[in-house]
């Protein structure tokens, strides 16, 4: 039980004392304590907010107010650039000090665009992303007020302390991945991940700053790749493409490489030279510069630096998983994929069939497993699962088989769990191998993780001896509406099915598709299964 761990108690006492979070101790936590450690990290931030909310006996004297903007008391100029100024200000509504970024605009359209963007950013709340509290236009100026982070940038940290240890770098990488995954989920990209833009606050929290409208303060109105951030730009961006989640990932790769070695992976002076180096991957391998690093860590970072975006990790959460697995292999328990050409005994299926078992000419043996602390547990029908559980589908077929897996939460669009782009294996699955889905991204074995509370999780498995064009079409359609990140973390339902309904609620879109392909009819080459696992609170 994590409650008995003296390290956890030491960290917790620090939080209670209002001391800086002991993040070195956090990084050292073992498998049983690591999730409680994540919880303590979150509590440390909440504690800071709660403390900030407590009534302060006296506030800065009114005389120190320089001017007012959109209801804020503007107190002190923190910095200025070509495009605008940054001020420390007091928000009386939040009763907090904030950073106010102000700039002049000469057109209504620009101001309108800016405000729209500001509002979009304000909807994003994540501990690893600087919070945007509001945006306003007043007297020919637009302003954006954001969380005032008191801390040092990673660039300053690197300068004063030199290259980081593996544990520190991985922890930073993990937090950045979490923050960026949230950004990408909102359909945004950061576009300017670099050591100067990543702050570590007094509590050890990693905060990604300056993006979207906020970034426009630093950059000229025209895109300017020569603004000192070019080392972080992916080759496709240097070639003129817009920034994407994959180019953000490339920047994280550059940042981690730099944190671990103290230098950039590519050093050419001009943009074209830089791009050529990137394409040729003409960099010194990480293990050469840092032989002490775990091999899996070097691989995870270098994969993020792949010149072809399709060869990078399938998403930020996949990179996160790889980083975590590199340092804490006991947490992820990567499965052994290669060479498991097991002879598959066909045993009774634990899950509920909704049609009779198909004739022996087409046979699929499948079952869900839960990975827990190194143990592999088969989930029998009706087995309860909980938030945080990592699930895999173990599957073997006697013939070449096309597999489709969905998570059905009753909504019109189900989550496609398999196949996933960037993840192997792909359809069709070869016979004679016991497959474990979702598969792996080339480096790390992956599992689906239940991340939301719901009454139950329903998984639909469709197996066919031939490709199903209707299903392929819908997979492309449904799969398109999300990133692999989202699919890998099983969506888990927010909506609850009424308790009194005995039958599982099926989303309209999925139900129609299953009817269309003939799950109800007896077909020799098709096999449809539904797995229902009630959720329990842990």
């Amino acid at each position: 039980m994590a409650g008995e761990n003296p390290d956890l108690e030491k960290i917790a006492a620090g939080i209670a004392d209002d001391a800086a979070l002991d993040w070195r101790l956090l990084a050292k936590l073992d498998s049983t304590a690591a999730e409680a450690g994540d919880g303590l990290r979150e509590l440390s931030q909440l504690a800071q907010v709660f403390r900030g909310l407590q009534l302060k006996p006296e506030r800065a004297a009114q005389s120190s107010v320089q001017f007012r903007f959109a209801g804020l008391d503007v107190l002190e100029r923190l910095g200025c650039g070509a495009q605008g100024e940054v001020w420390r200000a007091y928000d009386p509504m939040l009763d907090q000090e904030v950073a106010l970024k102000l700039r002049h605009v000469d057109s209504d359209t620009l101001a309108h665009h800016f405000l729209a963007e500001g509002r979009r950013l304000a909807k994003l709340r994540h501990p690893n992303i600087v919070s945007v509290y509001g945006a306003a236009a007043q007297d020919g100026r637009v302003g954006l007020w954001i969380e005032l982070v008191r801390g040092r940038s990673l660039a300053e940290l690197l300068q004063s302390e030199g290259p980081l240890g593996a544990a520190d770098a991985v922890q930073i990488g993990i937090e950045l991945c979490r923050g960026l995954a949230a950004v990408h989920r909102h359909g945004l990209t950061h576009g300017d991940v670099k050591a100067e833009n990543v702050l570590r606050d007094a509590s050890g929290r990693i905060v990604l700053a300056d993006f979207g409208a906020a970034r426009e303060f630093e950059l000229c109105s025209e895109f300017d790749p020569v603004s000192g951030t070019r080392q972080y730009l992916a080759p496709e961006v240097l070639a003129g493409d817009r920034t994407t989640p994959a180019s953000d990932q490339f920047a994280v790769g550059v940042l981690l490489y730099r944190l671990l070695t103290g230098s950039y992976p590519y050093l050419a002076d001009d943009l074209e030279g830089l791009r050529q180096e990137q394409l040729a991957q003409a960099r010194r391998p990480l293990h050469e510069l840092r032989p002490d690093l775990p091999r899996a860590l070097a691989q995870a970072v270098e994969r993020a630096l792949a010149p072809n975006p399709a060869r990078r990790h399938a998403g930020m959460l996949v990179l996160l998983t790889a980083l975590e697995a590199a340092l804490r292999p006991w947490r992820m328990r990567p499965a052994h994929w290669a060479g498991i050409a097991a002879v598959c005994a066909l045993f009774a299926l634990a899950a509920a069939f909704w049609r009779a078992a198909p004739p022996p000419s087409f046979a699929v043996d499948s079952g869900f497993y839960r990975d827990q602390e190194g143990r592999r547990e088969r989930l029998a029908d009706g087995a309860t699962i909980a938030v945080g559980d990592r699930l895999r589908l173990d599957l073997a077929a006697a013939q070449q088989t096309w597999i489709y897996v969905f998570n059905d939460d009753g909504s019109a669009v189900p989550t496609v769990l398999f196949p996933l782009s960037g993840i192997a294996p792909t359809n069709p699955l070869r016979p004679g191998t016991r497959w474990q889905l979702p598969g792996h991204d080339g480096v790390t074995a992956l599992s689906w993780q239940v991340d939301r509370e719901a009454e139950r999780e329903t998984f639909i498995l469709v197996a066919s001896a031939e490709p199903l064009p209707q299903v392929e079409r819908r997979v492309a359609e449904w799969g398109h509406s999300m990133t692999p990140d989202e699919a890998l973390v099983a969506r888990g339902v927010g909506r609850l099915a009424p308790v009194q309904t005995p039958a599982a609620v099926e989303g309209a879109g999925l139900a129609a598709l299953l009817r269309e392909i003939g799950c109800d009819a007896a077909r020799r080459t098709l096999h449809c299964e539904r797995f229902v696992f009630p959720q329990t609170r842990r």
Binding site: A2, G3, N5, L8, E9, K10, A12, A13, I15, A16, D17, E35, A36, G37, D38, G39, L40, E42, L43, Q45, L46, A47, V49, F50, R51, G52, L53, Q54, L55, M93, L94, D95, Q96, R119, A122, K123, L124, R125, H126, P127, N128, I129, S131, Y133, G134, R178, A181, A182, R185, H186, L317, V387, G388, Q449, D451, R452, E453, V489, R537
Partner: protein, 215 residues
Amino acid sequence: MSAAGSLARVLPFGRVGAERPVAVAATEPTEVLIRRVRSGEGVARDALVRRFLPLLRQWAHGRLPRAARDLHETEDLVQLALMRALRQIDHFECEGPGSFLAYLRQILLNQVRDEVRRLMRRPESVEIDTEMADSDLPSPVEQLVGHERLRAYEAALASLPKRQQGLIVMRLEFGMSYPEIATEVGSTPDAVRVMVARALVQLATALKPHQAEHA
């Protein structure tokens, strides 16, 4: 508004009547005070109010939506919650020292939620902040950490034993010092520090993994 002023508004001083005033020591444990309130001692009731009103007032600051942050409204809400708690004091089941404050906090939290619902029905609330349409009427604390994270925290907190809830809210939310908490729970500051740390580890374990990834 001064504390004395608000007490005058709250306390039905006249009702004490013929009761013989009995002194209440500042260090008297809350449990004892509650027992005395239950047996009808007005003095104990005053002492209980005096002990908890400032704490609740402080706590409510930052947890009410903008529209209700008028000082009077905050004050009314806090007093109302305390009065409600006192009226129901017979139903309060003491689950160890510190649980009374957790109980008060819960009543106040419910009161705040009712207030938010009331404000949302009020037509003029439409003008408050159309930019925040997706999150109804956010309180500053919601605006600072986000609704989802706050909900995850509340759920984890509610899953702990009342005694641990009390320790956590006293330290983290009410900002009480270890000696103050020690007085409240009848222990020593050093022991309280250890107890709070253990309660925090429990809370951290109960927080759902990846809760923060869904902003």
